[in-house]
Symmetry: C2
Subunit: 463 residues, 2 copies
Amino acid sequence: MEEKNKKTEDIVSMLTARDFASLRRALCDENPADIAELFEEVAKEQYPLVFRLLPKELAAEVFVEMDSDVQKIVIGAFSDYELQQVLDELYLDDTVDLIEEMPANVVSRILRNCSPADRQMINQLLRYPKDSAGSIMTTEYVNLKQDMTVEDAFSLIRRDAIDKETIYTCYVTAPNRKLIGIVSAKTLMISPLDKKIGDIMEQNVISVNTQTDKEEVGFLFGKYSFLALPVVDTEGRMLGIITFDDAMDVISEETEEDFAVMAAITPSEGDASYLKTSAFSVFKARIPWLLLLTLSATFTGLIISSFEASLSACVVLTAFIPMLMGTGGNCGSQSSVTVIRGLSLGEIEFHDIFTVLWKELRVSLLCAAVLAAMTFVKIFLVDYLLLHVLEPAEMLTVPLTVCLTMCVTVVSAKLIGCALPILVKKLGLDPAVMASPFITTIIDALSLAVYFAFAVWLIPGIS
Amino acid sequence: MEEKNKKTEDIVSMLTARDFASLRRALCDENPADIAELFEEVAKEQYPLVFRLLPKELAAEVFVEMDSDVQKIVIGAFSDYELQQVLDELYLDDTVDLIEEMPANVVSRILRNCSPADRQMINQLLRYPKDSAGSIMTTEYVNLKQDMTVEDAFSLIRRDAIDKETIYTCYVTAPNRKLIGIVSAKTLMISPLDKKIGDIMEQNVISVNTQTDKEEVGFLFGKYSFLALPVVDTEGRMLGIITFDDAMDVISEETEEDFAVMAAITPSEGDASYLKTSAFSVFKARIPWLLLLTLSATFTGLIISSFEASLSACVVLTAFIPMLMGTGGNCGSQSSVTVIRGLSLGEIEFHDIFTVLWKELRVSLLCAAVLAAMTFVKIFLVDYLLLHVLEPAEMLTVPLTVCLTMCVTVVSAKLIGCALPILVKKLGLDPAVMASPFITTIIDALSLAVYFAFAVWLIPGIS
């Protein structure tokens, strides 16, 4: 890290010293992703200057890695010729991503400067639904025929490789464009030059449809660790491929979404990092949930008010409310988070619901027993012997009430916590919305009701 | 999915029908990962039977994908010859993973059946610390020399490719074994056969040390979307490579750890899926945290007890405790989860702490204002007009107390929630342990103290 910051400093100082020769040399040694990061260190006015120093191909690679706001500024400074240069180097799926990020006027300028063929492709790609496999695929892949020889394949790759995002998996299609097999570059390299592609190709190919959900695509990459995944239409005709870097982006997006929703935050679109989002948009992402949850806490309030009489008869009961609610919340979120992840990783499915419930039941009984026992001891030692907040008369009834409530809370918390996400997913909603915050609110109300019920039943003088 | 289940059924029925010819054919069409999953459908006794049907190479690929318990049974049924066959096909890093999972007696059997050269390598790999880059690297990579021609490179690859996990990035080393450059298979394919490797190799190589933390490795793969990353010793001598599939495993492990710890669960070692873990081990992973959190709730209890007098003087105050604590908890976890992810994704670092605090301060003030306003209205409409739980005399003092407490709670919750994880990480601990549950407990105590302080100050008759 220090070393990296050092480099950045050097480069920035070269820039201020206007020593462009060494600056260009320094930049060429850097990795595109790092150069893109570097733009955050230099003044907006200098973006185009720095960018123009980069050699054509590197420039494109850097451009892809930039934040959309930086891209906008750079494009703004481009002459149409420069823009064409860059677009020329971009892979189609990156151009599409770019277009999706840019304002209308920039988009039309980009499309104007694309080759007609590309423009047609782009328009087609833009038509796929937002979260579909089609929206993240590229139409540039190595397309082989089964009667080609390995040698033909090599010369074809040698000719086209430059514009293909990956050449490590080649796709074999029939004359009717149906996908009939794949050949890895590895297989090509170790096969004799005169062998027919048809004889060395792998025929059992896993592919997805343009409509397949992005999430499913990420799941397949995670499971099979593919380098690329072919996308076909309903007739099995080859349309494009999804490369593993795009799949990795999908996977991490999904994960961050889970984290966000579990913390009761509206997930941010795309990869806007926290430090770059304005305080107000952070506020907007958080406040709706807070309002909802705070309002829903009204019920717990109501339950308490309706037992005001009982409470004033035995105020000490109040002291245990936070502990009971806290424990319930924690037990619930333990189960819900576990199940929610199981669901998004495809480990748990709807038909597992009873297995899950049965397991959570046993777990919760164990937890309940241990927690109740500890609480009983703690009340006796701390509240009774040490702090005397309990009257001798209450010494049995109150802890009994608390511990029984604890047991009911823990068990119901874990059962609700594991069942709700599965049911919600079955309804076609994101299970993560049923994460801790909501379950906690439900448990809170429940545990209080149980608490007071036990109190009325067990503690003399409470009605 | 249906289609997949269909396949599974067919295969299982072929097995029961003992129609091994078609079974073998059916299996050969499947992807290794799917075949491995299939073993969960068949009886333990049949594992070896099914496994022996697989052709040598496929068998090894399937073996790698199996759960360790399945692997153990299969190995148990192997003759030494069969074991050698499989080990022969395995990549070294997979053999090492296997050894780490197996009981001592199996391990010694495995080592006995490895070639002496492999055994030496394995022992060396086993010596690297558990979470280090060295522990997940493989020593099998394509090693080129600067003065080779592209043609030499191809023939070398053609000779060795079979035993190399990836041939798509080749590593160029000097006679002293120092790593001096990399060449991608793509570059090789598009370069003239007589070109010297030294002229086409990429010289600015990103590499890691054997001691580098796995997490850092995952981060680099995520950032640069590498196919493989070279591992060098302190003198920059080439030792091995980490391939992207292993890196992806690391990334998902780290993520699941974050989820677990955020839900106050001890993260499970390796990839033990929820459905496969016994209820008791689930219990063991959860109970310590529950005990800790429940005990720590004692403080909140103490605070309440010490204000018993005030509460009995104005019992209605109790009704708002759940809402205040709930809101505090949610605000806290919103900030903490955001910051914790930022930290593990490397977006947020220690020096950003003031930027983060300043942002959270503004966000929290906005949230506080909105929440307090809504609460005031809600108390007036619901508790006063609708339910009459408030006396006219209390109509100003109580809501004022609640809303002021709300403001203080929200602001402090967000500030504590964002600052604690950063500080904890600075101390070299996992920031996730400072996630919601703990912060919630802290906020609970804080908000109650503030609540009662305001009550004593604002509400007449409370002391």
